[in-house]
């Protein structure tokens, strides 16, 4: 607070803070954001998960700087080696002698990029569709929600495989777009529900009475009120996208060689799983680490953003 103590008029709310300060009591207003931060920081599992996730994501994004070898560098003298410090093959090598640590790093980079692209795209689509449906209701709502029902009703994996086979061969970004086009439905439903209740709020009517147009009301006035469920859902989509991308790549419909992806690495390694355990285990561990930590972060966010939680 500022040092010059002003004298608010007698009707100043929340008691007279200046007076309390004169008595030596410090008065710090607690904002929603501070409460949220405090709750999140105290969520130990979420904080630990955040650290793990940041580590993995940072390693993935700086793969080029960290990796001791290029992901496609073949060394036929060092084929199928178990993890060893010799030549810093800390995760061993595959059957044509490529450093597996480097391949996992680059694979994680591809997967993380795809996952975040999917999260951003599907959250954007889902939010806009849900907001428009919930705000306008009527036939717009019916149309959009039937579209959601339709997408949810078709067998997910089958559509994914067909779409990936025809449209997404190879390029990670195409795979990301296909996944996003299938994953926005959940967010759309959540956002629609929020908008249905928000549109009846008096502050929305007040905004309308002050001359705000539909777009302004939808995005400027109502969207900030929906942010918490959107954030929580977006984190969960990241985990889901990593899993689905791995599934696709494992089945051979996702990202194509030479691009390494975590699912593809597992698929390539499964033939020799019993003799060369690291080929399946290491990328698998990375997938598990990313997904688990994201889910725990999602839990932490949900708890911290929920104002009905006790102020711990």
């Amino acid at each position: 607070m500022s040092s010059d103590i002003r004298h608010p008029p007698p009707d100043a709310p929340l008691g007279d803070t200046a007076e309390l300060e004169r008595e030596g009591l410090s008065v710090t207003p607690v904002t929603q954001w501070m409460l949220f931060r405090r709750r999140f920081v105290r969520h130990k599992l979420a904080m630990f998960s955040l650290a793990v996730l940041l580590l993995v994501v940072a390693a993935a994004l700086f793969a080029e700087q960290i990796a001791p070898y290029a992901f496609d560098e073949i060394d036929l003298r060092n084929r199928s080696r178990a993890p060893t410090l010799d030549g810093w093959h800390i995760l061993g090598t595959d059957k044509i002698g490529r450093d597996y640590f480097s391949r996992v790093l680059f694979g994680a980079r591809t997967s993380v990029r795809v996952a975040f692209t999917v999260a951003v795209l599907s959250t954007t689509i889902g939010t806009v569709v849900g907001a428009v449906a919930g705000y306008y209701r009527g036939w717009v709502d019916d149309l959009l929600m039937r579209l959601v029902d339709f997408i949810l009703a078709v067998p997910f994996l089958a559509v994914l495989l067909v779409a990936a086979a025809y449209l997404g061969r190879g390029s990670p970004m195409r795979v990301a777009v296909i996944l996003a086009l299938l994953l926005w439905t959940n967010i759309a439903r959540v956002v629609r529900g929020q908008y249905l209740s928000l549109r009846e709020k008096e502050f929305v009517e007040a905004a309308r009475a002050s001359g705000a147009g539909d777009a302004r009301i939808i995005f400027r006035h109502m969207l900030p009120n929906t942010l918490s469920p959107i954030i929580v859902n977006a984190t969960l989509v990241v985990a889901l996208a990593i899993l689905l991308e791995s599934t696709l790549s494992f089945l051979g419909f996702g990202i194509q060689p030479p691009n390494p992806a975590l699912g593809k690495l597992i698929a390539d390694g499964q033939g020799s799983m019993l003799t060369q355990w690291w080929l399946v285990t290491m990328p698998g561990l990375v997938i598990v680490a990313i997904c688990l930590s994201i889910n725990f972060i999602g839990d932490g966010l949900r708890d911290a953003l929920d104002p009905t939680q006790p102020r711990r």
Binding site: S2, R6, P8, P9, D11, A12, P13, L14, P29, T31, Q32, K201, E202, F203, E205, A206, A207, R208, A209, S210, G211, A212, G213, R216, R220, H221, P224, N225, L227
Partner: protein, 350 residues
Amino acid sequence: MNVREPVLSVRDLVVEFATPDGVVHAVAGMDYDLYPGETLAIVGESGSGKSVSAMALLGLVPQPPGRIASGSARLRGRELLGLRGRELRQIRGREIAMVFQDPMTSLNPVLRIGEQIAEALAVHDPGGSAGERARRVVELLELVGVPDARERAAQYPHEYSGGMRQRAMIAMAMANRPAILVADEPTTALDVTIQAQVLDVLRAAQKETEAATILITHDLGVVAELADRVAVMYAGRIVEMADAETLFARPRHPYTLGLLASLPRLDRDQERLSPIPGQPPSLIDVPSGCPFHPRCRLSRGRERCRTELPPLYATDLPGQQAACHFWTEMEAHTAAVRAEVGAERREEAT
């Protein structure tokens, strides 16, 4: 009294709502003029159509189920009813601004107060600079008496008390210097101690913007405090219109008298209030003739009250109109009722 042109002329406004039980005649033909700088209070019980009549001006009646069946509302000669889209949005907030009843729910909980007021400015001046708006926000908050306006503009609604929030709402309403300020029960949700302050702020805001004000309320105390003229509504119609002093001293409609007589008084000992007997009429099935006749003490079952809808008669007092066939009997009736209420009160006192 007023030789000036009215800023707003409402004629024969009819608003209906379709419900499963039938058509609700929320506003059943309303005429009034609003002159620059004056405060017109619209008084009535819950469901008498006072809020709906104001919502109709801003195109805020949800359609469906609502329907503006007929009428016109001209703002400086320009028809408001039936405006759509961009034209309507230019009226809202810019020409006619609204202060809502409950400042707890009519402010957006996740936007800072300053942002919300800046929003109201930005809507009507998209090209304006953010810095200019921020300056204006602080100026407005100071004007409505929010202390430490600069710091408090950065706070969220939950950090404001109820009275402060209503001040912020008023600041937002006057942001664009509207020609008309509509205050819909501006003090109903507030503590009595805060009410007087908010009324002062409203008065200051009106002075600053020179806006004509429509004050919607059921609180005759607020009316006495703020209003120049009063329109009393019953069953979707104006039943009496007069300047505030005349209305309080010499009502010419039995319903107005009933409202006045039902007020609790502190200057006399009194255990029971004197309510108007009966219930407000159903707006689906409005009584025939004068809608007030089943509850009216003046009517005494007279044929004309049951069959003929009274128009607004000009009374003997300047500027006063009353929708009662027998307004000429009101002088005597008023004296009788007042004596009776006084006697009753004296009786209870002993």
